[in-house]
Amino acid sequence: MQRRITRTLLMGTLAAATAVALVGCGSGFSSGSSGGSSSSPSGLTSSADPLTVLIGSSGDAETKAVSDAVSAWSQSSGTKASVIPANNLDQQLAQGFSAKKPADVFYLSTNALAGYASNGSLLAYGDQLTNKSDFYPSLVKSFTYDGQLYCAPKDFSTLQLVINNTLWQQAGLTSADYPKTWDQLEAVAKKLTTGGHVGLSMNGQYERMGAFMVEAGGNLMNADSTKATANSQANIDALSYVKKLLTDGSLKFAADLGEGDGGQALGSGKAAMTVEGNWVTGELANDFPNVKYTVVPMPSGAKGQGTLQFSNCWGIAADSPNQKAALSLVEKLTSASDQLAFSKAFGVLPSIQSAADQWKQQNPTLVPFLDGANYAQGVPAAKGAAQVVADLDGKLAQLKSQDPKTLLDQAQKNFAALTK
């Protein structure tokens, strides 16, 4: 009897250990050795240690482009550097920070910024960037926490309206019919909806519908992510508009069409239009090389043009023994020549204004995406905002049967809790 209880307890312990092992394994014992680093006048550490660059790569093309750029820098600077494509960026970053042995330079999303900035994992090097004034102001805002620019925007993406040319022409529409307003969008979506396909499709989440909120003059939080503005009338209007399209049947979410995202819904011919970011170009070229499409700006709402932008930045670790070299690497990676190379390799938009003209010449059909930088807004970046957005996304997927105001009131409550 005694033995069986012992065994039960041991089994339970084992069970719990399995569950907590994931939590426990990031918490290594700290070790202070950092290879004889010394602080320079600017407050940055400097040493002969090689750099590691941890990236959350979208695929081989991105990994190769970043590796090439980093090794070119390595050769000119004489500091060794290696690129590690992460399997799970969040997890690998967290493990590095807790062990005080993080990668020196890494991709960092707007979601993760506030958490790592507040616990002292990040070096706020923004003011030391020589090209600081060249970045788009809205991007700088996204990576500013507590009044400090923490990291250099790596690149960005915006949402625009993508149209399947064949289906557009089949419906008897021409380039004069590209929708400029919500009403026009509603009209063409209705016209494009036939038995075989719907007029408009997108992912059923804030990360797409948010564009309509910005067009109506709203967003979930203010630009600094310090105040919750989720249940504003503008947001209610935006969601009511989307709900109306859903009820009409001219809009269906990609998941309801059995597709992973709006790009696939467009490519497979299940939808004639979709709201997607510039990454869709790569997706369509790979999976649906024969589909011809046109990118046009999102239609204007009550407050004019608007869209959402998404961005990552180049984070530098506070525990890095060689921050000086890391900063020089980041300046090189955000230079016009490198960003244009990245853009060519994996379809992102350069984060600096001085590269815009050249980029537009190289990508004349995708100009609306870059123009979006002038009127785009970022997603909420307060600590914990990602969870609230995820919670809202779960409900937005069922928008057809939900009341927009109730959803947004709930989101407002959750966002407000973050800013207390």
């Binding site: 033995r3 069970a15 399995t18 994931l22 958490g115 790592y116 997927a397 809790a417």
Partner: protein
């Protein structure tokens, strides 16, 4: 296995002292030492560290034992079970999801495993080896592979819905449908909103109406998957147990005129009680720890209806930097599993047969 050895060694400690045995104790400890060190390093120490993290304000930077980390008492636990915010609501939702998963998976997979075991143990069945392999096959396949397969099968235009369409059923969009199946059934009967007594009150940020709403359609697909994959494993345990049963008791029952059904319920099943306990306990622990299917399949969606406490623990820690809350969830899960296991032990304990159901007087009674 090794745990049994440790337990044995411990219980025998009382017997030391006689000179000839002393060497045995020493070598016993010597032999178990490597495992004790390994268990300590990879089990006891991490568990204790996680326990500390769950009571601290550690923020993920540096060691949890560094000087800046403070003891915050039950703050993390309080945020999860009584915070009133999203953390509490998420935890409540994950418990709701997992409870339905356990309630459906554990009994069904046990019953199915036993049924399959009885079938393939029958001497008359031809090609028993083939069926045993076939039933066991899903168990040896990686759960990630099966999850991916499931995602394809249960796609809205996938094979399952295709088959359903042949019989005129318009299949749901499985992995994107967050509506609870009991609520769906009630909606079919015309009950679309619950009584205010249920919708107005709740537990852990989830209304009672949602607690009783049943698993979502998406979770149901995972439930089917769990039954499909683990029944084979437990079938193996039952087969082994069935082969250990002596044929004489069966023959005696046959002589007494018991039919097949009576023999199964009155003779076979009671003898399988230890195996039944093992299967139920393993099933329960496995079900409360569902993680990899969620991680590869849905990440908790749609609308968090496939969120499990184990996945929530991971998500809170690694994605949201709420390390204390993540560890606290893991320990609450630990307590839940212990409580359920003890409850099961109590339920399946060896009881004397009630007097009125005794068919034959027991040995003790015969002596009186």
């Amino acid at each position: 296995m090794m745990m049994t050895t440790i337990a044995d060694t411990t219980t025998r400690r009382g017997r030391r002292g006689s000179g000839i045995r002393r060497g045995e104790v020493l070598s016993g400890w010597l032999f178990t030492a490597p495992m004790l060190v390994l268990l300590g390093l990879f089990l006891v120490v991490p568990v204790l560290m996680a326990l500390w993290v769950s009571f601290s304000d550690w923020n993920g930077h540096g060691s949890p034992f560094s000087s800046g980390v403070r003891f915050v008492g039950f703050t993390n636990y309080q945020a999860i079970v009584a915070g009133g915010g999203l953390a509490e609501q998420d935890f409540g939702t994950s418990l709701r999801n997992n409870a339905w998963y356990v309630v459906l998976v554990v009994p069904i997979q046990t019953a199915l495993a036993l049924f399959l075991a009885v079938l393939v143990s029958r001497q008359v069945l031809r090609g028993r080896g083939f069926f045993r392999t076939a039933f066991y096959f899903p168990s040896v396949t990686s759960s990630v592979a099966i999850t991916v397969l499931w995602l394809f099968l249960f796609n809205t235009t996938g094979a399952v819905n295709k088959v359903l369409s042949w019989v005129g059923i318009n299949g749901p969009n499985w992995f994107n449908n967050p509506s609870g199946i009991i609520q769906d059934a009630l909606a079919g009967l015309g009950v679309r909103t619950g009584p205010s007594a249920l919708t107005g009150h709740g537990f852990l940020g989830v209304s009672w109406w949602d607690w009783i709403g049943g698993p979502s359609v998406a979770m149901s697909a995972f439930i089917l998957m769990a039954i499909f994959t683990t029944s084979g494993t437990f079938m193996l345990l039952f087969i082994a147990a069935l082969q250990n049963l002596s044929g004489e008791v069966q023959e005696a029952a046959m002589v007494d005129g018991a039919n097949g059904w009576q023999r199964f319920w009155r003779i076979t099943l009671p003898q399988l009680r230890p195996t039944l306990f093992t299967v139920l306990t393993l099933g329960l622990i496995g079900c409360w720890q569902i993680f990899d299917q969620i991680y590869t399949g849905t990440q908790g969606g749609p609308d968090k209806t496939t969120l499990s406490p184990a996945y929530l623990s991971y998500q809170s820690a690694f994605n949201d930097q709420e390390w204390g809350q993540g560890a606290a969830i893991a320990f609450i899960l630990f307590v839940i599993i212990i409580v359920f296991t003890l409850f099961q032990r109590w339920l399946l304990r060896d009881r004397g047969v009630p007097r009125r159901r005794r068919l034959v007087p027991t040995a003790k009674e015969a002596q009186r």
